[in-house]
């Protein structure tokens, strides 16, 4: 029984603690049994895949990474390998690690709520869902030569030649991308003053930088799909 001084007066806090044994341990034990039975049941009926002996001279077509990396492999369609395969996953990992230090909203600590942290929840859910959408496309909708096939289409080698792609002129690309980050950083700070003030300069810059990179990655994909743009910025050293 704990009594805490509140503004409204004395509020009694119920001691809601229960014995771990058996309340929690029994559930854990049951969960372990269900998982074991489920895995063994599935393993009895479904065989793990095994193809022919590896042959460096004969590439699989399509050659696919394990499914949990197929989102990144799908991103290869839209980006060079240095971004899709190295920098993007690094940014995702660093971004995930930074979340607790960027989100300084004290509400919603230890319970489900959307109302009290709309920005955080919607941003995270968007990224999480998008990751799995890319995985789905890479797993189910990509056939030989990574060509796109709808689920009801058979995989063939007879698919239409993709439309030719072009790069944006370098000055335009630099202005577009530079403008995207400058406006993206400045506009919310001016319009949503309290959002900016609550976070402070460093948190705000990191949060918005990560958010803009996530959104920018999606926008680049739209540019490719809608306008056949190969690179926004094309230079002899690096292409984005």
């Amino acid at each position: 029984m704990e009594v805490r001084q509140e503004k409204k007066g004395l509020v009694e806090f119920k001691d809601d603690k229960v014995f771990t044994w058996p309340t929690l341990v029994a559930k854990e034990f049951l969960a372990a049994i269900f998982v074991t039975v489920g895995l063994l049941f599935y393993s009895y009926f479904v065989d793990a895949p095994l193809r022919e002996l590896s042959n460096p001279g004969q590439a699989e077509n399509p050659a696919k990474a394990p499914w949990y990396f197929l989102g990144l492999q799908e991103a290869l369609v839209y980006f060079d390998p240095w971004y899709a395969g190295v920098v993007l996953p690094s940014i995702i990992i660093i971004g995930l690690i930074l979340i607790p230090y960027l989100d300084n909203n004290p509400k919603g600590n230890g319970y489900y709520t959307f109302k009290e942290r709309k920005f955080a929840v919607s941003t995270f859910v968007f990224g999480y869902v998008f990751w799995y959408v890319l995985i789905y496309i890479g797993t189910a909708l990509r056939g030989p030569f990574w060509a796109f096939f709808w689920p009801w289409e058979p995989w063939t080698h007879d698919f239409p030649t993709p439309a030719p792609m072009h790069d944006l002129p370098l000055p335009l690309g630099v202005i577009l991308m530079g403008g995207f980050y400058v406006v993206g950083l400045a506009l919310p700070a001016l319009v949503k003053r309290d959002f900016f003030m609550k976070l402070g300069v460093i948190r705000y810059a990191l949060t918005m930088g990560l958010l803009l990179t996530m959104v920018g990655t999606v926008i680049k994909m739209v540019f490719r799909l809608a306008f056949n743009v190969k690179y926004i910025i094309a230079t002899p050293w690096i292409n984005i």
């Binding site: 809601d16 603690k17 229960v18 014995f19 771990t20 044994w21 058996p22 309340t23 929690l24 341990v25 559930k27 854990e28 969960a31 372990a32 998982v35 074991t36 895995l39 599935y42 393993s43 009895y44 479904v46 065989d47 793990a48 095994l50 002996l53 590896s54 460096p56 004969q58 590439a59 699989e60 050659a63 696919k64 990474a65 394990p66 949990y68 990396f69 990144l72 492999q73 060079d80 390998p81 240095w82 395969g85 190295v86 920098v87 990992i93 690690i97 979340i99 607790p100 230090y101 989100d103 004290p106 919603g108 600590n109 230890g110 319970y111 489900y112 942290r117 929840v121 050293w237 690096i238």
Partner: protein, 256 residues
Amino acid sequence: MKLVPDLLKKITDNEIWKSVFRHGYTDTPRNRALQIISNVWLHLHPAKVREHGTKLRFTWCMGGITFFIFLFETITGILLMFYYVPDVNRAYADIVDLMYVVPFGRFLRNSHRWGAHAMVITVSIHMFRVFLTGSYKPPRQFNWVVGVILLVLTFLLSFTGYLLPWDQLGYWAITVGTNMARATPFLGHEGPFAYILGMRADNDVRFALLGGTTIDAPALLRAYVWHCIAIPVIASALMMVHFWRVRKDGGISGPL
């Protein structure tokens, strides 16, 4: 009808029982607490927990299930190690033997494989739940960081295991995966700015991962050692920190 209770009492109320379990059997609050506190495995838990933390609708049990699948994979993995040798001349044949010759070998390999997929799924759902409940907020910020590293290690555990059957599926999946390393800025020989550090195919970061310029015997051995020893050891160490910090940061998160 007194037979069963009498027998139960005979079994549980004697010196041998007490020497093993260190406390009495009768259902008293004291023994319920001792059941947790005086047991080396269970004392990971506190003797009492807040009730919402035992609810499936709050935790989804996904963290616990992920840990359990890790144990499941350890056991099935050790059994597989009895039959599998990471040698390019043998590896594939060993897997075929497991599938067709070894008693229960197919069942063993299947359950290890599907368990690995399940673990990737459960750990990512666990992260989703922890985010939705805001459980990374103070004082639990650092435990989220440990959790993110454990998530990455789960991916790497599964990824290193993918090559071991030495079949076309694993070989080309690892080819695709490790070719990415070639494009690492500065450190991969096809990446941007690689010329600054003088990167070539035989000295870049992909070479370090594979132990060669192509996926061959050294790559298979490296995948095996990372998969069976290095990553499980690192992951176990971090899991200890992860679970210990759950306790130290005030137990399972919940409304204040």
